[in-house]
């Protein structure tokens, strides 16, 4: 009866949407660094920790207000207690263990073994309880029992909780743990030296009436101070034998000190690229509406250079030398293979939400086809653009799902025709588009706001703003109306194709959007 009640309850929780939603919410809030509200929670906890320590410091020499005292001992501790319980809850799923055990037993034709399931659950929970992070969390709650004065010192344990919330501390810890073996060797070596020198100096100095080292503790203290190259000078050896020991300790202290420094520096140097890469991945997750350029070569360099003036651009390149070249130009580049699904998974890019378009700009048609196929295998909608190097491969790029293909030789051919055909007109229009002339061509989308004030072309007053209106693109009919007459009606979603000085264009744009408020 009891067993069936537990199983039913476990199934109920496992299928309950609100229960799962709540659990996922707390998981995201406490553990998922990609969750947008986690940082606010982390900041809140950091403030609690720091205020708690500030109150402790103030309490040392002066009387602390009762309300502050209450806040520190009860409110903060209570919040930490709730956090501890929530973390314990989300650390593993009790219902899953019970359901799995039940299904396992049913399949084998056995009776449900509740005790085995409970044992499993306890193991999971105990494993969490005895983890270092959980112990620190627990110790941080202890000041709740403020009657025990010694426990007040546990407020300092709250500082260790900062490890949970500050990412840079986590990075530092990961760097140090990467050199765990070296640091352990160093620690053992240092401990042996300290132990030996302490014992020797104690033997040499303790019986001398003028000596300042009288106890073994003083000997250990002297060794540590000397070894660390701090050397306060409050305790110093007086016998010649003691001074000989001091010389050895000083020399080995310099060795230990420099070894430790070099160890930390090399660990950082080794991990620097990795840290930078992680930082870029982290930043990418926050960027929306960027262009993803696959492959970095001459065309890519030009395209990224132009695009990055107004938009965010991320480059994926497999070749490390090309990655370095892109970095030198100051572009955001990642050393990942654009033709591998694994790259996109690892980078955590949500193509539908974050990416505006994908540009396959490798100078190899094979790579561009491969990249396009890779992207199409998990995303059908994203706009893919590619360059074509060999005309014979045009169909392959189409089959791979590329939306728009640019064939360099064809473009050169078209331009050659214009050069020789209508050279003056061609050069004039191109000269106007050079950034040095400050003349630009823009397309302005007609939205509801513009439409409220400007229902037809004649009301736009483009000439007053010294703007050339080349025409209107009617989105509904998908056609371009060149030089439309004044009575032409505008509709939401239409585009005005205008040309003019960049300053005047800006003013014209503002005019279109602000007239309603006049």
């Amino acid at each position: 009866m009891m067993k069936s009640l537990i199983i039913n309850f476990a199934y109920y929780l496992d299928t309950s949407k609100s229960y799962q939603k709540t659990k996922i919410f707390f998981y995201n809030l406490l553990e998922n660094s990609d969750y947008k509200y986690k940082k606010y929670f982390d900041i809140f906890m950091i403030i609690l920790i720091l205020s708690s320590v500030v109150i402790l410091i103030r309490e040392v020499k002066s009387h602390v207000n009762d309300s502050l005292f209450f806040f520190n001992n009860y409110v903060i501790s209570f919040i930490f207690l709730i956090e501890y319980i929530l973390r314990l809850w989300i650390s593993s799923s009790v219902t899953k263990v019970i359901i799995e055990q039940n299904e396992h037993d049913v399949m084998l034709g056995n009776k449900f073994r509740l005790l085995k399931a409970l044992k499993e659950v306890s193991l999971h929970k105990l494993k969490y309880i005895f983890s270092i992070k959980a112990i620190i969390d627990l110790l941080a709650i202890l000041p709740f029992f403020h009657q025990l004065r010694l426990l007040r010192i546990f407020i300092l344990f709250r500082l260790f909780k900062l490890f949970r919330y500050a990412k840079s501390i986590q990075t530092f810890t990961s760097i140090i743990t990467a050199k765990k073996f070296e640091f352990l060797t160093l620690l053992i070596f240092t401990s042996i030296i300290i132990f030996m020198s302490s014992v020797i100096i104690y033997i040499m100095e303790a019986n001398n009436p003028n000596a300042s080292i009288k106890t073994l503790f003083e000997a250990v203290y002297w060794s540590v101070v000397t070894m660390s190259t701090v050397g306060y000078g409050d305790i110093a050896p007086v016998t010649p034998e003691g001074r000989v020991v001091a010389m050895f300790v000083i020399v080995s202290g310099i060795g230990v000190f420099s070894f430790t420094t070099s160890l930390v520096v090399t660990s950082f140097a080794e991990k620097l690229d990795e840290i930078k890469n992680l930082k870029v991945i982290d930043d990418i997750a926050k960027i929306k509406n960027f262009y993803l350029v696959c492959g970095y070569e001459k065309v890519a360099k030009e395209v990224v250079h132009k695009l990055s003036k107004k938009h965010k651009v991320i480059i994926l390149e497999e070749n490390i030398q090309k990655v370095e070249a892109a970095k030198k130009e100051g572009f955001s580049v990642l050393n990942y293979d654009p033709g591998s699904i694994h790259s996109y998974k690892k980078l955590g890019i949500d193509i539908n939400v974050q990416v505006k378009a994908i540009l396959c700009l490798s100078h190899s048609d094979v790579e561009n086809v491969y990249t396009a196929l890779t992207i199409r295998s998990f995303n059908k909608d994203i706009f893919i653009l590619s360059i074509l190097k060999n005309k014979a491969n045009r169909n392959k790029l189409h089959f791979a799902g590329v939306n728009e293909i640019f064939y360099e030789k064809e473009l050169v051919g078209i331009i050659a025709k214009e050069y020789v055909g209508q050279a003056v007109a061609f050069e004039a229009i191109h000269a106007l588009r050079l950034s040095s002339t400050h003349i630009d061509i823009e397309e302005i989308i007609v939205n509801d706001r513009i439409l409220q004030s400007f229902s037809n072309v004649g009301s736009l007053e483009n000439i007053k703003y010294r703007i050339v209106l080349l025409g209107v693109y009617e989105s509904a009919k998908k056609r371009f109306l060149f030089n439309p007459i004044d009575s032409t009606l505008l509709a939401t979603g239409d585009y005005l194709v205008v040309m003019g000085n960049t300053k005047f264009l800006k003013e014209f744009n503002t005019h279109l959007h602000t007239k309603v408020s006049k």
């Binding site: 505006k356 030789k409 050069y419 080349l470």
Partner: protein
């Protein structure tokens, strides 16, 4: 003066694309291969006698489209050295080689990488404006771009170009004004707006073929350059 013969130096994929696009403009097109046997070949030895005998150089436009940039530059410099007035259109890989080709004497340079990059960026940033511009420039629609020299300025009665209702009265759009020194100014730039329409001015206009022809009849003739 419009030329009637095109000489394409180099035999590669660019050759076919250029030939395809210019064959409607030129009466004769000669494709010359580098260091090959046969009549249609050339080398970089600086001897252009056989070419001079075959074609009237004064009536030619040369396209230097060798894929090896060093060879292309050498070819350009060699042609310029021999034929001072030849119109040379040269293909460059990037801006660096474009500058060198200009120094070597090329009349116009087509930078292939930049051209592709420009078209890609324009397509992404301003898809509609780019399509409109391309349809005008590459004559994909009835819209045309043309340069027109004003022969009879009395039609405009001492007006400034910006005061004339070009689009309402003539159905065309004036983009820029060309000055005698060859430089162009946007129609609404300060220099152009303070300039009274005079005979000899060149306007770059966009419009339908029919409207442009009617406008030409009214004020002058189409500029051939």
């Amino acid at each position: 003066m419009k030329k009637s013969t095109a000489l394409i130096f180099g035999y590669n994929e660019y050759t076919f694309e250029i030939e395809k696009n210019i064959k409607s403009v030129y009466e004769h097109i000669y494709i010359l291969k580098l260091d090959s046997d046969g009549e249609d070949s050339f080398d970089l030895s600086d001897n252009w006698d056989s070419l001079s005998q075959k074609v009237n150089i004064d009536d030619c436009v040369a396209f230097c489209i060798l894929e090896d940039m060093a060879e292309n530059m050498f070819l350009t410099i060699s042609l310029r050295d021999t034929f001072k007035d030849l119109n040379i259109v040269a293909l460059s890989e990037d801006q660096e080689s474009a500058d060198k080709l200009k120094l070597a004497g090329a009349t116009r340079v087509i930078p292939s990488t930049q051209t592709t990059a420009n078209v890609i960026v324009d397509t992404l940033e301003k898809p509609i404006a780019t399509e409109v511009l391309h349809s005008i420039l590459y004559e994909k629609s009835n819209l045309k771009i043309s340069q027109i020299t004003i022969k009879d300025h009395t039609v405009f009665d001492g007006k400034y170009p910006t005061d004339i209702e070009w689009s309402r009265d003539h159905g065309i759009i004036i983009i820029s004004v060309f000055h005698q020194d060859g430089s162009s100014e946007f129609i609404y730039s300060s220099k152009a707006t303070h300039h009274i329409v005079q005979s000899g001015d060149i306007f770059v206009v966009v419009g339908y073929d029919k409207d442009i022809k009617e406008f030409e009849k009214l004020i002058g003739t189409k500029c051939e350059k």
